[in-house]
């Protein structure tokens, strides 16, 4: 691990990371503040006025507790959107962009092995995602505790975020793997953004009707099911394990292939 390179990564990615994390936090604050413990039923009525297909497609559900309220709104479509932007851009910048532009030649000519460089970039990739979820979790806990004291089951909420983070380790793994194996920006971005977006589309299609629900099972997002987590279903824990394993395989595979392949520098 090269600390110098890590610092340079922070510098190169801090703008996009801060921007997205701030917007994401902002949304999180609004959604938490929308919770009304007295009027959970009014909320339900209001939601009924919205087209059901639309809500289903977005995976949006409404809950009567603060935990299910947050999970229904924030850990569905918005979860797919904000961290994904960071993941796609950061992972592309870490390896593929250096190879595409040619600046990788300079990194490698500084007597750092390919493995060392790839491991450093993988560390940054994982830490950037971890930090997004840490910030989001803390922001939501602070807002929840100050606006609705005693309403949030903090333990379950943290578990939900660990679950979401593991999902993102796997997605980030896809982007990192794409970044390590692509010679050109378009392949890295195409695969890194395309595959997760395809999974989102599958998930949305699967949600629109019973007879196409099998489509949703093809998506990596099918492994992420907060309701089953809250219900104490072992499926959620199996999901976590599988997501974590996917992440390990993709990150390790990316590093191994980056080490072995020809670089067009």
């Amino acid at each position: 691990m090269s600390f110098t390179l890590f610092k340079a990564d922070v510098k190169a990615n801090r703008f996009i990371w801060l921007l997205i994390t701030i917007i994401y936090s902002f949304y999180a604050v609004i959604i938490v503040s929308m919770f009304d413990p007295e009027n959970a039923d009014t909320m339900a009525e209001m939601m009924e006025m919205m087209p059901q297909e639309l809500l289903d497609a977005g995976g949006i559900t409404f809950g009567s507790t603060l935990l299910t309220h947050i999970s229904g709104f924030l850990y569905s479509m918005l979860l797919y959107l904000f961290p994904l932007i960071i993941t796609v851009i950061v992972n592309h910048q870490l390896i593929a962009s250096h190879v595409d532009k040619g600046s990788m030649a300079y990194l490698l000519s500084t007597s750092n092995s390919r493995t060392k460089i790839a491991v450093t970039q993988a560390m940054f990739s994982i830490l950037s995602i971890t930090l997004v979820f840490t910030v989001i979790t803390i922001v939501q806990i602070i807002v929840s505790v100050s606006m609705f004291p005693g309403e949030l089951e903090v333990g379950q909420f943290i578990l939900l975020n660990v679950y979401a983070m593991l999902l993102y380790y796997a997605i980030s793994g896809i982007c990192f793997f794409a970044s390590c194996t692509s010679n050109e920006a378009r392949y890295s971005l195409g695969l890194g953004a395309g595959l997760p977006i395809a999974f989102i589309v599958l998930e949305m299609l699967g949600n629109t009707g019973e007879n196409v629900s099998w489509l949703g099972n093809l998506s990596i997002f099918a492994l992420f099911d907060p309701d089953r987590l809250f219900a104490g279903d072992t499926f959620a824990y199996i999901g976590m394990t599988v997501l974590g394993s996917i992440a390990v395989v993709l990150y390790a595979g990316g590093i191994a292939l980056f080490k072995k392949r020809d670089l067009p520098l």
């Binding site: 090269s2 110098t4 390179l5 340079a8 510098k11 190169a12 532009k101 040619g102 600046s103 030649a105 300079y106 990194l107 490698l108 000519s109 500084t110 007597s111 750092n112 092995s113 390919r114 060392k116 072995k260 020809d262 670089l263 067009p264 520098l265």
Partner: protein, 293 residues
């Protein structure tokens, strides 16, 4: 020091390099000549450990270029053919970054190089011209005082004054015992500093020669313009190898017989003399009777 043993890299499009073998001795400045697309950069990629060969091997100081790349880099300075840096950094920040990445900080050498190339190091790399970026690349390659230096078309983009400073630097480094390999598609670029050259064409080494032998064997062309066309008659009688290119212009080809030309021209009214720079194409024509691309 640098050793290539039938290094072969086949690409799926049939291009690549085939059985490339040559040695660069310790303390030698070695030129690597070839037209664009001949395989110079591919060969250098092997030396840098960026690509693995299909066959054969390359080594620097006895270390394998593929498996020991990181170890080799500690003693190696490299100037890539295409300049691609970290655009958001200034020249100075970039040099500092590279020093930190290497873990070798030779501030004194770095400063003297910045001074020598008159680099405005506070400027953002994004805003630099090609020549300025080239200077940053040269400083980055030399500032850790490496024993081996590999340069891929190093003077492209430099103005004539900077090219001269570059040649001076190369000569100084050679005198300090450095081993230098530089590629070029221009004979003039390696002419002033290299002792030996290898010529590559269509992925194959066609010659490894002393630069003096190569130069002696080359014909030189002069374009002479006379004030009066009657002077052309004097050239015709001199027995020189010539062609009349206009009413008062001739092209004379010299192969070491400079004195004959000077004697013939001494009685003429010459208004201009131009000498053509030797191009690689002409070397190929001379050596192999085939045209370079």
């Amino acid at each position: 020091m640098i050793e290539l043993n039938s290094l072969t890299k086949k690409y799926s499009n049939g291009k690549g390099i085939f059985n490339v073998s040559f040695q660069v001795k310790n303390g030698e400045v070695f030129g690597f000549l070839g037209p664009n697309g001949a395989g110079k950069t591919t060969t250098i990629r092997h030396l840098m450990g960026f690509v693995n060969s299909t066959n054969g091997s390359a080594s620097i100081s006895g270390l394998d270029c593929w498996t020991d790349a990181a170890k080799i880099q500690r003693q190696l300075g490299y100037v890539p053919g295409e300049i691609a840096f970290f655009n958001h950094l200034t020249g100075m920040q970039f040099l500092k970054f590279i020093s930190d990445m290497r873990g070798i900080d030779n501030k004194k050498l770095q400063d003297s190089l910045i001074e020598r190339f008159e680099l405005d190091s506070g400027r953002k790399i994004r805003k630099m011209s090609k020549g300025m970026k080239q200077k940053v690349g040269l400083i980055a390659a030399f500032m850790h005082d490496p024993a081996v230096i590999i340069l891929d078309e190093p003077t492209s983009g430099l103005d004539p004054l900077m090219q001269r400073k570059f040649v001076e630097l190369i000569n100084e480094e050679r005198n300090r015992g450095k081993t230098i390999l530089m590629s070029s598609h221009l004979f003039g670029e390696v002419d002033q500093s290299c002792e030996r050259v290898a010529i590559i064409r269509e992925g194959k080494i066609v010659a490894v020669e002393d630069i003096t032998t190569l130069k002696a064997s080359l014909k030189k062309r002069f374009f002479i313009t006379f004030e009066h066309k009657r002077d052309i008659e004097k050239v015709k009688m001199s027995g020189l190898d010539y062609t009349v290119s206009d009413v008062n212009k001739v092209e004379i080809v010299i192969n070491g017989n400079y004195n004959e030309m000077l004697k013939a021209l001494a009685n003429c009214n010459v208004t201009s003399i131009d000498a053509s720079t030797q191009t690689l194409e002409e070397i190929f024509m001379r050596y192999y009777g085939k045209e370079g691309n």
